[in-house]
């Protein structure tokens, strides 16, 4: 089965070749999600450990921090899940992901040519995608249970204790995945522009996602030259 090409992905010949990777809607969603996640991280960490309580100052007060955090969570949940439906197909795991993962050392030591050719996402990106998906589900569900203003009273105190523990463990994990995601995008030069301009260079696609590039070229999804 050939990986379905995502609508909107297209090649523009030129020097260098540019490849459309994310349309404006996906990018907008990505940045809303990113901003929400950062604000949630700051406000959540402020209530997670007293040494970071001073971060509540960014929101005006502890009371404000407590009040806005869950609402930002709702924004994150909605924007992430629009984003989710744009990306999930291309993130389904494949056998090649196991081969790729088994050679991850080659990637880190600069021998990416030893790794298999990949579609739009590599195993690391898929891990981040599904990890975020699962953790956001845990966070929204547990977050509702401990949302004091509206919902906490509908749950027993033992249930709220489970929820607050699950919420903090999931938050720690998602922050770790977030750091991994940001760092991987920085380390792999040329990646950030996929989320700013929406395009990557042909060389970037050839190097990291050659199967995706071949498919785009093969299906002649070639846009007009720039």
């Amino acid at each position: 089965m050939v990986e379905k090409i995502q609508p909107g992905d297209a090649i523009h010949p030129g020097k260098p070749v540019t490849v459309d990777r994310y349309g404006p809607a996906a990018r907008a969603n990505h940045w809303i999600t990113a901003l929400s996640l950062i604000l949630l991280g700051i406000s959540g960490l402020a209530l997670f450990t007293p040494s970071l309580y001073f971060l509540t100052g960014l929101f005006g007060s502890g009371q404000n921090t407590r009040a806005v955090h869950p609402w930002i969570g709702v924004v994150l949940f909605l924007s992430f899940f629009v984003f989710f439906f744009q990306l999930w197909r291309a993130n389904l795991p494949e056998r090649v992901d196991i081969v790729w993962l088994s050679k991850i050392r080659d990637l880190l030591s600069g021998h990416e040519e030893n790794l298999p050719e990949l579609g739009k996402y590599n195993a690391g990106q898929k891990f981040i995608f599904w990890g975020m998906t699962a953790l956001i589900l845990v966070l929204i569900a547990s977050g509702v249970v401990i949302w004091e203003q509206y919902f906490a009273e509908y749950f027993s105190i033992p249930a709220r204790r489970v929820a607050v523990l699950a919420h903090s463990v999931a938050a720690v994990l998602i922050i770790c995945i977030f750091i991994l995601h940001v760092y991987a995008a920085i380390w792999t030069r040329g990646t950030l522009q996929a989320m700013t301009r929406g395009t990557v260079t042909g060389g970037w696609a050839w190097r990291h996602h050659r199967k995706w590039l071949r498919e785009l070229a093969g299906q002649r999804k070639t846009g007009p030259a720039e």
Binding site: V17, E94, V96, G110, E148, P158, R160, V164, W206, K211
Partner: protein, 329 residues
């Protein structure tokens, strides 16, 4: 001036300065480095003798009066509890249980004055994320400092007795103060002072334990073989204690916990999760920075761009590496 010894004395007519200050704090929520207390006050306690309580609710009225709370007008749902639960406007509540003693087959009407137990090891304080929203004085009183409270409800999860209530109006947590403002000026709690039967007494914790012993001896002589003092060790003892006629089964008194402890979930949340979590997040961040500084970035080579251009122009490019490329899902 040390802690008051009784709730029955009347206050002097002259104004008095508060005797509970920052130097009396032995714990302060979300505060790691609390200066040691400047003196040690004698521990106080309120002793509630369930066997003497007639359920008149004078204590509830006194509490509302003293704390100037405004409970809503109640609604009769066929139970004696009024209101039906503790609220941010009702810090203490008489809970009524009709219990048939299986040994004697007689009905016993158990009336327990519910409210904060002023635990020596307070779960509410342990859970609270806001610096100084919950404090514990060296006399044993656990007090909520409302201006520091952020209304998160963590104290509700931390408390083993289901005591704190968050106001929907001002988003702050409320509970019995053990009348810290009265104790600070040498007075006992309002509820103890109002009790017409002497079921609520107040004094030093040592005196209250001694007083309870007398009551327990009396109850035993009247056939309550399991009478005893409820001062649960799981929370380090409490500064509100009960004399129970059936101390072998506290749960019959409207679900008073048999062996209250701070939940292991709360301990795990505030303990290992916090330390391991912070370590993990810091390691990720520091590891990324180190890798970013010392490792070579993964850059696209000029050759990659050339290959992409050839591919797009339809010129021959290196073929897919079939040994390592999967042909399908």
């Amino acid at each position: 001036m040390d802690s008051p010894r009784t709730a029955v004395s009347n206050p002097p007519t002259q104004p008095m300065a508060s005797n509970l200050g920052p130097g009396d704090l032995i714990r302060r929520s979300a505060t790691a480095e609390l200066p040691p207390p400047t003196r040690k006050l004698t521990e106080v306690a309120k002793l509630i003798d369930v066997s003497k309580c007639i359920g008149c609710k004078a204590c509830q009225s006194a509490c509302v009066e003293w704390n100037d709370t405004h409970p809503a007008v109640g609604e009769n749902v066929g139970a004696y509890e009024n209101p039906h639960d503790l609220t941010e406007n009702m810090f203490t509540l008489m809970r009524f249980t009709e219990w048939v003693n299986p040994e004697t087959d007689s009905l016993e009407w158990l009336i327990r004055k519910d409210g904060c137990m002023h635990c020596a090891d307070p779960g509410c304080l342990k859970a609270c994320p806001a610096p100084g929203a919950i404090v514990q004085y060296s006399n044993g009183i656990v007090d909520f400092i409302h201006e520091n409270c952020i209304g998160c409800g963590y104290c509700v999860k931390g408390c083993p007795f289901n005591i704190p209530r968050i106001s929907k109006a001002d988003h702050r947590s409320y509970k019995c103060t053990l009348c810290s403002d009265r104790v600070a000026v040498g007075q006992g709690p309002a509820c103890a002072k109002a009790c017409p039967t002497g079921a609520i007494v107040f004094g030093t914790k040592a005196d209250m334990i001694k007083h309870a012993e007398g009551r327990i001896t009396d109850l035993k002589s009247r056939g309550y073989a399991n009478a005893g003092l409820y001062d649960p060790p799981g929370v380090g003892g409490t500064h509100v204690m009960y004399v129970l006629h059936h101390n072998d089964k506290p749960h019959i008194y409207a679900n008073l916990p048999d062996d209250p402890k701070i939940s292991p979930l709360v301990q795990g949340w505030k303990g290992v999760t916090k330390y391991v979590g912070i370590a993990a997040m810091s390691m990720m961040a520091v590891g990324s920075v180190i890798h970013g500084v010392f490792a070579r970035p993964n850059r696209v080579a000029a050759e990659d761009e050339e290959n992409a251009e050839k591919l797009v122009e339809g010129k021959p490019v290196p073929p897919p590496n079939h040994a390592t490329t999967s042909e399908g899902r």
